[in-house]
């Protein structure tokens, strides 16, 4: 309320001198799959429109709402003549809807709302932007295209005034599938997560009795152990992935990255000098929390679509789980078969874990002290 009062006060004309920023317009086009119509909102700085259509009629150095409103028709015709929208080569006819105003960080903007009707259901969208380039080649059109709530963006310039979008790929299902792929990819290229998982799986085909590892007797008990570890890891990293991706909590990336390396190191060392032997799942749960932060930072780097945050998050998580499952399916049958072998405990469990610990140790030192390795 306080803020609203302040705004009102200022809009009544106390201050509001324009700031000096490069000239940008903000063009938002939105549509839904299966539609033949595009809704447009185009925010253009009053300063730029003054240049183009001479808004300050009385030349007093101020632009009033009356001066803007009086030129509504001219403003729409100026702008809409300089924006050509088309779908599959056929042009879409834009019609003005309403004229509003808004404040951006550098001053007042006219908000031009319009609807463009295309001859058929949209399968692609061509944008040809020509506004203001002739008056200020530094001008840029910052375009955001929202299809079914998922956003894509482009910067339109004199060098690149056109942009083509394929709308067949923008369905929610495609967004979801794309992030599933990204999640799987991250597990397969993220050796730290993979090595962590392998460290936890290696002892799952063994059981600790009287300070010695024995092979489990049945496949069932091996699978139960694997299931417990994988479930715990999944639940815990999903918690932190979700919270961090939604911005509820955040940790510095250096802490997260070194935490992940440390988790791999500790999990591997635990196989060599066992401390946690029966509750491997508890270890997986605690360290999984750290890995979730790591997944979240990857997801952030990929750029979350504003309108489809939940979908992207779910997709990415499912991808991570699928990636993880493939690791389990590749490793578990192999170690189950090998568990009885004489070399399994010294060679695979201790030897493999030592190798993993070595790699993780190097990562940890590099990441924690910024030495540029790993």
């Amino acid at each position: 309320m306080m803020r609203a009062c302040l705004c009102l006060l200022l809009l009544l004309g106390a201050s509001g001198v324009s700031a000096h920023k490069p000239s940008d317009s903000y063009l938002v086009l939105s549509t839904n799959s299966g539609d033949a119509e595009i809704q447009g909102q185009w925010d253009v700085a009053l300063r730029d429109l003054d240049l183009a259509v001479d808004l300050d009629a009385d030349r007093d150095g101020t632009i009033t709402w009356g001066e803007v409103r009086g030129r509504e028709k001219d403003l729409f015709s100026y702008a809409l003549q300089r924006l050509a929208l088309s779908s599959a080569g056929a042009s879409c006819r834009p019609e003005s809807r309403e004229l509003l105003v808004d404040e951006h960080s550098d001053g007042a903007y006219a908000v031009l709302r319009f609807t463009a009707k295309c001859p058929a259901v949209l399968t692609s969208l061509g944008v040809d932007y020509r506004m203001l380039f002739d008056l200020d080649p530094g001008h840029r059109g910052l375009l955001r295209l929202d299809v079914d709530g998922a956003s894509r963006s482009a910067v339109l310039s004199p060098e690149q005034p056109t942009q083509q979008f394929d709308l067949t790929q923008a369905s929610p299902w495609n967004t979801f599938a794309q992030f599933v792929g990204d999640g799987m990819h991250h597990i397969w290229i993220g050796y730290d997560h993979m090595l962590f998982l392998i460290s936890l799986l290696l002892p799952a085909v063994l059981i600790r009795r009287e300070r010695a590892w024995m092979p489990v007797v049945s496949l069932r008990s091996a699978l139960l152990g694997v299931l417990a570890v994988v479930t715990a890891f999944t639940v815990s990293h999903s918690i932190t992935l979700t919270l961090a991706a939604l911005g509820v909590i955040g940790l510095p990336s250096r802490l997260v990255e070194s935490g992940i390396a440390l988790s791999v190191l500790l999990a591997a060392l635990n196989n060599i000098w066992p401390i946690v032997t029966r509750r491997g799942w508890a270890l997986a749960f605690c360290f999984g929390l750290v890995h979730g932060f790591g997944f979240a930072s990857v997801l952030n780097d990929l750029g979350l679509p504003r309108g489809a945050l939940a979908l992207a998050l779910a997709g990415f998580n499912v991808g991570v789980e699928i990636g993880q499952l493939t690791v389990v399916l590749a490793v578990v049958p192999l170690i189950y078969v090998l568990r009885q072998a004489r070399f399994y405990r010294p060679g695979v469990l201790v030897g493999g874990s030592s190798a993993i610990a070595l790699v993780a140790g190097v990562w940890f030192v590099g990441r924690a002290f910024g030495l540029g390795v790993g």
Binding site: L51, W65, D106
Partner: protein, 403 residues
């Protein structure tokens, strides 16, 4: 005593008014609306905008523009753009050049004008590529030599800058030549001689323009500030501002001197109501407000981060130094700040660029990242106690890591 309090109050009041205006901008951004009455003022065009519009009006009346007119118009746009730090003016200058903008081969003066515009966009190599043939064709163009020296200096090529100053001295006004020479001397271990030379040149009668004299005072002020002579530096900044009260660069540099002396209140009085017009001044105002633990700080910081986000959205990378400073001083995010400071140092290498890189590297505990700045300090032999102090701190991190 009472007067002092009143001055302080009015300075704070002004800052509050700016904050309120900006707050309005920030909160109203999400709601397009229909104003209640025709008399409501939506925008006050700043003096810069009005002046730019005037040039445009004159141009429209003149039929059949000659090259001389086109160059004169472009020059006026660029002068306004420089003073008010207004990027649009450079676009208008490009349009003012009309057919000559894309002409190839172009007359030397056109090449120089193109170089000015490219320099503003931080396309330094492209700007130098325009200047080289222009200077070959016309060895007596003082403005072109000065621009060449400037760009070389910004790129950290102090030797090339000094060579350009030597070419400039015989063809320019003595004060302009002295400023060029003093400014490069200050970067190559002879700051004191440069300071004396320039202070002396400023006492002599000169035919230099007001903006050239102001530039000389600002250079003198910056040299003194780097030598740690705060009070004489401040006097020189004040002289510069009597000549060009609106100059964004000078106001920002003066504000930096005040910030270094922990005089946040004075920064706010200096930048006053117009601080929001340029990112450089808004940044200093925000830092001052934050150091004062003022309630406006959060709003100012919000606006600034919005402006930087908008710059990134358009693909603009010319403000990395400012963004790095914002990230480290206001947002306290040394990792991000270091990233920006490194990117910035790859493009421009002046004392301020070295300083921000060193500060960010220290804050992030990453001595290796500061290496380019350390190399630059050593190669130039620049005399700047504050920078050397920072360099020492970086070396301590190095030693700490080795132990």
């Amino acid at each position: 005593m009472r007067t002092t309090i009143r001055i302080i109050r009015s300075a704070v009041g002004r800052a509050a008014a700016i904050a309120a205006a900006l707050l309005c901008a920030a909160t109203a951004a999400a709601v397009p609306h229909r104003p209640d009455g025709d008399d409501i003022v939506l925008e006050r065009l700043s003096p810069a905008v009005v002046a730019l519009r005037q040039i445009r009006g004159e141009r429209a009346q003149a039929a059949g523009i000659t090259l001389a007119d086109a160059l004169a118009n472009a020059r006026r746009y660029i002068e306004l753009g420089q003073t008010f730090s207004d990027p649009r003016a450079y676009g208008y200058a490009q349009v003012a050049l009309g057919q000559w903008w894309a002409m190839n081969p172009a007359p030397p003066q056109v090449l120089v004008m193109r170089a000015r515009i490219l320099q503003f966009h931080h396309e330094f190599d492209a700007a130098l590529a325009q200047l080289e043939p222009a200077l070959k064709a016309d060895q007596f163009d003082a403005g072109a030599w000065l621009l060449f020296a400037n760009i070389q200096q910004v790129r950290g090529n102090v030797r090339a800058a000094r060579a350009a100053c030597l070419k400039l001295i015989p063809v320019a006004d003595p004060l302009v030549g002295a400023t060029c020479a003093a400014s490069t001397a200050a970067l190559s271990g002879r700051a004191r001689q440069g300071e004396q030379l320039l202070a002396q040149a400023l006492t002599e009668p000169t035919g230099a323009s007001a903006s050239e004299r102001a530039w000389a005072w600002t250079t003198l002020a910056e040299t003194r500030a780097r030598l740690g002579q705060a009070a004489p530096a401040e006097a020189a900044f004040k002289q510069a501002l009597t000549l060009v009260a609106d100059d964004v660069y000078t106001r920002a540099a003066y504000a930096d001197l005040l910030l270094d002396q922990s005089r946040a209140r004075d920064v706010r009085a200096l930048l006053g109501e117009d601080a929001a017009q340029a990112d450089a001044t808004l940044l200093r105002l925000t830092i001052a407000a934050q150091r004062d633990a003022d309630a406006d700080a959060a709003v100012l910081s919000e606006i600034l981060s919005q402006r930087f986000a908008e710059a990134r959205a358009r693909g603009d990378r010319t403000h990395q130094r400012e963004q790095a400073r914002f990230a480290i001083e206001v947002q306290r995010d040394p990792v991000r700040a270091l990233d920006l400071a490194r990117g910035n140092f790859a493009v421009q290498r002046e004392p301020a660029d070295a300083r921000i890189l060193l500060e960010c590297a220290i804050a992030a505990g990453d001595a290796q990242a500061a290496q380019p700045a350390l190399d630059w300090l050593r190669d130039t032999g620049i005399e700047a106690p504050q920078l050397l102090l920072l360099a020492n701190q970086v070396q301590q991190i190095n030693r700490g890591a080795k132990q």
